[in-house]
Symmetry: C2
Subunit: 368 residues, 2 copies
């Protein structure tokens, strides 16, 4: 992806931490995110239900229905025969970095590793929707996955047949970067990543990129599904007229340090601090790094080319001269003027935490 | 201790979380600190080594030696025969709240519960030192516990016979509030709390209050023991002339909310927010509480009488009117003008974190 990539994806061993077995949730180990393209076996996984759908691609169909002029039912081969698009896209879970919120928030206790980048191949969603002909009265497009299960909230149990379904505004669904993806890093999708087809919504948090996609439904009313209205919302509560639920949508500007890792011992001499930065709301324009706990900040160099759909590598040379512990932090600014905050205001489910990444390293007084 | 105490200590079940089995480390569950006097079985424990000394009080001796005019060797009965003092004293571990530091710091991952308060009985240390007659050339008083073990730092292993020893400046040692304590909440000390005798240094972090005390040594040079110079120091590092180690000494102003607990569901109506506040550097003068994440702060009422050696209860009425999640925080100010910060600068071993306590509660829309 960039001239500074450190090698082909396939040569790196998987580097995932399992946070939950049921549903399966695994996050990348941040210090192992050494390549701009994350190897598939090191790509974070966030399933919602116990059962990973085992889909026979020959029997799989994608229905496109609802408020369309020409309902479709596409086979996998038909989809593969359509013009394909390749795109490098970063996905980040809305719950990434949740465990760094104060006080603790509800949900899977992600560190900073629920973010990864792959090279995807698929068919333009807009092309398929245009072929079906979206009605002028349509408001949203709903994407239904094959995965179903049970959820509970406020003492209410939602059916065991609750599907993982999410909607997008029609305008968003028609954006050219959205894909019906069938390849990830040059291979068919793995079962955990949505085989045979997943929706890919670049620049949005990962909840929008519905896996195991089987049905696209065009509707003229706001979709009220569990994962649209009960989950993946910021809740403004404690107000007289009752809670206001605002959907989690585009990726907030964010950056991570991938080298060094927290606690690393750095020998005296030259070192290169590295990491990634991304934003769903503009181009990353400035990366600032402190090595003294925030007293002074230096601008890091952005590597490669800007890609609005993916993270960008950055680096900053540093010279370890005197022994001690040093606090490193990084903060990114995007072209819309968003800059990462030190910390974000607490929200009930701990979504979209883009508070700045902080770690400590040690320069020893004697060689370790 | 105050008219607002909610009951006798003995009627509460133990409420400790074990953080480490070897050495034994247990912290109080903050929401269980409901009485101004913590029941002994709920009092935090911070041992340093595997073996808890099993001391026969009949055979135990306390030596007072070094730069004194009259070395002493006191039996337990002799100590008991001296005039006694009773005092309510709060002890807080220097590592309390360590796990709330960003990034993580070295050491036992304490929450906010390594703080407790007991009614102690013992003999004035000054009285014993005066009886021995401290030399005018003396600089420090070293306190040796019967506990020994092994420690490692920077690849150096310190002997398996490393004793837990700590020193105090002579002036500090002579302060009237320091006790050679033999009773805790009306009973002999338990083995975990230093039977038969522990030093008690009110207003300092707990590391100064040496347990299983066997020897007091008056010296004319700065004591250089492991737990004096390698542990319980703030390290100012990364500076040209090498690290500067500043000792951890007096308790920084701090407060905790004991009710509600984080995540508590509060039914609509009247509620009383409660907690404790303390400082080793003056009297707690102001407690401020926010129930809206910090937008507005209200002054809480301090209960009972001020005791420079112990925490003080506080309360603030709150009315839950609308449903939602609410962020509570508390911050204390002392008579020396110290006020708790939102967060403290990181230090390698994560000592003395008095960043403000934050939690979230829920007021349900329907009765839970």
């Amino acid at each position: 992806m960039t001239s500074d990539s450190t090698g082909p994806a396939a040569s790196y061993p998987p580097a995932l931490t399992t946070i939950s077995e049921d549903p399966l949730v695994r996050e990348s180990i941040v210090a192992s995110l050494v390549t701009a393209i994350t190897p598939t076996e090191s790509f974070y996984v966030r399933n919602h239900f116990s059962v990973v759908p085992a889909i026979d691609a020959d029997k799989w169909r994608l229905k496109v229905e609802g408020m369309v002029h020409q309902p479709l039912e596409l086979t996998f081969d038909e989809l593969l025969s359509l013009p394909s698009v390749e795109s490098v896209v970063t996905l980040e879970c809305a719950g990434n970095s949740r465990s760094y919120l104060t006080p603790p928030a509800e949900g899977i206790a992600f560190g900073h590793g629920a973010v990864s980048t792959a090279r995807w191949k698929g068919v333009s969603l807009a092309q398929v929707l245009e072929r079906a002909g979206v009605s002028e009265d349509a408001l949203e497009v709903v994407f239904h996955g094959a995965d179903t299960g049970e959820e509970e909230e406020d003492g209410v149990v939602y059916s065991t047949e609750l599907p993982y379904s999410r909607s997008l505004p029609v305008d968003t669904a028609m954006r050219p970067e959205l894909l019906l993806a069938y390849e990830m890093n040059g291979e068919p999708l793995t079962p955990d990543h949505g085989f045979p087809i997943r929706l890919l919504v670049p620049r949005w948090y990962g909840m929008a990129s519905v896996k195991w996609l089987t049905r696209i439904e065009v509707v003229d009313k706001p979709f009220e599904g569990f994962f649209q209205k009960r989950r993946y919302v910021f809740i403004d509560e404690g107000v007289e007229d009752g809670p206001v639920r605002m959907p989690v949508t585009s990726l907030k500007v964010k950056s991570v340090i991938t080298s060094p890792r927290h606690g690393e011992v750095i020998q005296p001499g030259d070192f290169v601090i590295r990491g990634f930065a991304w934003s769903g709301e503009g181009e990353v324009t400035v990366i600032e790094v402190t090595t003294d706990g925030g007293r002074t900040w230096s601008e890091a160099k952005l590597l490669g080319d800007s890609n609005p759909n993916a993270w960008r590598e950055w680096k900053l040379p540093w010279k370890a001269t005197v022994p001690g512990h040093f606090i490193f932090k990084v903060r990114a600014t995007d072209s819309s003027g968003n800059r990462q905050p030190m910390s974000i205001p607490w929200n009930f489910r701990g979504y979209a935490n883009n508070g700045i990444h902080t770690l400590a390293v040690e320069v020893p007084s004697v060689k370790k």
